[in-house]
């Protein structure tokens, strides 16, 4: 025993080797071991940085918006990496500024869906019984409409602008989040610390927000990542069919839609915007899958 103690100068150091790593630390380590997930994370960070620094990379008014007819349909070159579009605007500049819209609307709509759907799901999962039945049957009705169509209906009714798009996509994702949060809450609900909290007289609201939801964090984060990807896809899809972000504003989907007419002779015009959507979604999918595996190693 003496020898062992001697090896370590202090007691603290001795016990350090037995100290369990925190769960977060363990999860993070598992995540880092997953190469694809780390690649996804890096790509996504890169996209976010591009979106933040967009005004530095290219001027919005002069490069992304201003029509410059003599410059139209120039193939990719050192001056214009991705070429210029049918109105002579630099495609790179438009893509970089388009990233801002996609990311902002993507995250805002998922936040909205998480807020409403999460609240409904938490209530349904926590109380169970009749309340659960009523809420979930309502959500099922919304699930009967594919989310693109639900978003379409809302946009059709209230008009196409950024705020309406965000609300439309957010509402169309709400039922999905309510299901995710509900099932997460139901697994946590029966655990002893929730009962303990109830025993010491905590209110239901307090238990839901401070004990239950905190411990459902993992699966929710995974779903948020994956749904941001589908939200971004939905934005560009709506814009592609002309019911999303409207023309002069650069958005990946409407860039594809306007470039379509010229793609037979200028194929590059549809390459960059499509690639931008594809890479963004791929990175989020990689990230989401990686997080899921890291949070629940059994699933692998």
């Amino acid at each position: 025993m003496d020898e062992v103690v001697k090896k370590y100068t202090t007691r603290k150091e001795f016990f350090k080797q037995y100290k369990k790593k925190s769960r977060l630390q363990e999860t993070w380590n598992r995540f880092l071991r997953n190469k694809m997930a780390v690649i996804g994370l890096f790509i996504f960070i890169f996209i976010v940085l591009v979106a933040i620094t967009a005004p530095i990379i290219a001027n919005y008014d002069t490069e992304a918006i201003k029509i410059n007819v003599p410059n139209r349909l120039k193939a990719p070159s050192t001056e214009h990496i991705f070429g210029t579009d049918e109105m002579g605007r630099d495609i790179m500049a438009r893509i970089v500024h388009g990233a801002r819209i996609s990311l902002v609307v993507g995250f805002a709509s998922v936040a909205l869906a998480l807020f409403i759907g999460g609240a409904l799901g938490a209530i349904a999962g926590y109380y169970g019984g009749k309340i659960d039945d009523v809420i979930m049957r309502c959500m099922d009705v919304f699930l009967c409409l594919p989310d693109v169509l639900l978003a379409l209906a809302i946009v059709a009714a209230f008009g196409t602008n950024l705020v309406n798009m965000t609300i439309a996509i957010g509402l169309s994702f709400t039922p999905k989040f309510s299901r995710v949060v509900r099932s997460a809450v139901m697994t946590v609900r029966g655990i002893e610390y929730v009962e303990a909290a109830r025993a010491i007289g905590s209110t239901n609201t307090h238990i839901i927000t401070n004990h239950v939801l905190i411990n459902c964090f993992g699966p929710i984060v995974v779903q948020v990542t994956l749904y941001v990807a589908s939200a971004i896809l939905t934005i560009s899809a709506l814009s592609f069919i002309g019911l999303g972000i409207q023309a002069p504003i650069p958005e990946w989907g409407n860039m594809l839609a306007s470039g379509r007419a010229y793609m037979r002779d200028h194929a590059y015009i549809v390459m960059a915007p499509g690639l931008a959507i594809f890479v963004t979604i791929l990175s989020l999918n990689l990230l989401g899958d990686g997080l899921r595996d890291a949070l629940d190693p059994r699933l692998k």
Partner: protein
């Protein structure tokens, strides 16, 4: 089994009614006066009021909804504001095209996704399996509309093998089906692979192998049936997404289907047509969910046993 089907059929009715209600409510709150759309330059206050009475637009929300559903049950989707023809006529003309594309996509994604998933699940670390995993990963992230454009560029512009638009004949269906189905094929493939992986490790598979059942039989008769359950769920969940995606596919390939009709109607503010399209699509989703449930029940002996003593 019959009891099960009847029960599910009855459960579908309130769902469809509720969806109709939701869609109707959304469209009811559309700002603007529909009589403006219909009358255009001939708009006068009197004409507008007269038309409103004629169309029943002056009645309260609930009465309007009640009338709409009443007509709907008889197959009457109302009159289009633009063409003044019954919406049902247009739906009947357009819907078969949508059905063709969706069926093509289903065929493509199930017909290719399941076998590839099974193969790569049986031999999980082979080159083929790794390759399919990469393809699957890329496939789930591909936007339908971009893939559609790329397919047109390659197969109709460059190679000139397949038509890029319209719908006549089998050849014109290939590209839209692939574009629409690619995402879901990747999804189905990944699901089949992972459930196959799980099943193939289980004891009863080892037992079967130990008894001397040949490898082919083990996979097809023992493993596949259990491994298919999650795949069937994924297929079922994807039918809705396919119907959503059809709007994009029809736009890319200029196919005159329900999706295209919906977009056109939204642009022209033709509310009855929009409603009709959405209701039809929702009914499709509900029906296909029902079909998936029935298939599921056939495959899962536990559900079968619940209704009618094992054989049902």
């Amino acid at each position: 089994m019959f009891k099960f089907i009847v029960r599910r059929l009855l459960a579908m009715i309130p769902v469809i009614l509720a969806v109709t209600f939701v869609v109707f409510t959304i469209m009811y709150f559309t700002p603007g006066d529909p009589t403006n759309t219909i009358l255009g330059n001939e708009w006068t206050e009197d004409a507008s009021a007269k038309l409103k009475t004629e169309l029943g637009l002056d009645q309260s929300f609930l009465v309007q909804f009640f009338n709409y559903t009443k007509n709907l049950i008889q197959g009457d989707f109302g009159m289009s504001y633009i063409t003044r023809a019954p919406v049902s006529e247009q739906l009947l003309a357009r819907f078969p095209n949508t059905l063709k594309v969706v069926a093509g996509a289903m065929l493509f994604c199930v017909g290719l996704g399941v076998p590839i998933g099974v193969f790569s699940g049986v031999k999980p670390y082979s080159l083929f399996s790794n390759f399919t995993m990469v393809v699957g990963l890329l496939g789930v992230s591909l936007p339908i509309f971009w893939l559609g454009l790329l397919l047109i560029l390659l197969f109709s512009v460059q190679l000139g093998w397949l038509p890029s638009s319209g719908i006549d004949g089998f050849a014109s269906l290939i590209l839209p089906s692939v574009a629409l189905g690619a995402n879901y094929m990747a999804n189905i493939m990944r699901t089949t692979r992972s459930s196959m992986l799980e099943v193939i490790r289980q004891d009863y598979i080892r037992t079967a192998k130990a008894k001397g059942v040949n490898a082919r039989n083990v996979v097809l008769n023992h493993a596949l049936q259990n491994a298919m359950m999650p795949t069937v769920t994924v297929i079922g969940m994807n039918i809705g997404a396919l119907l959503g995606g059809v709007v994009l596919t029809e736009t890319v390939f200029s196919i005159p289907g329900t999706g295209r009709l919906l977009v056109e109607a939204i642009n022209k503010r033709d509310t009855p047509t929009v409603l009709g399209c959405l209701v039809i699509m929702a009914v499709c989703v509900a029906v296909s969910n029902l079909v998936v449930d029935i298939v599921y029940a056939y495959m899962d002996p536990r559900i079968k046993a619940q209704y009618g003593g094992g054989k049902g």
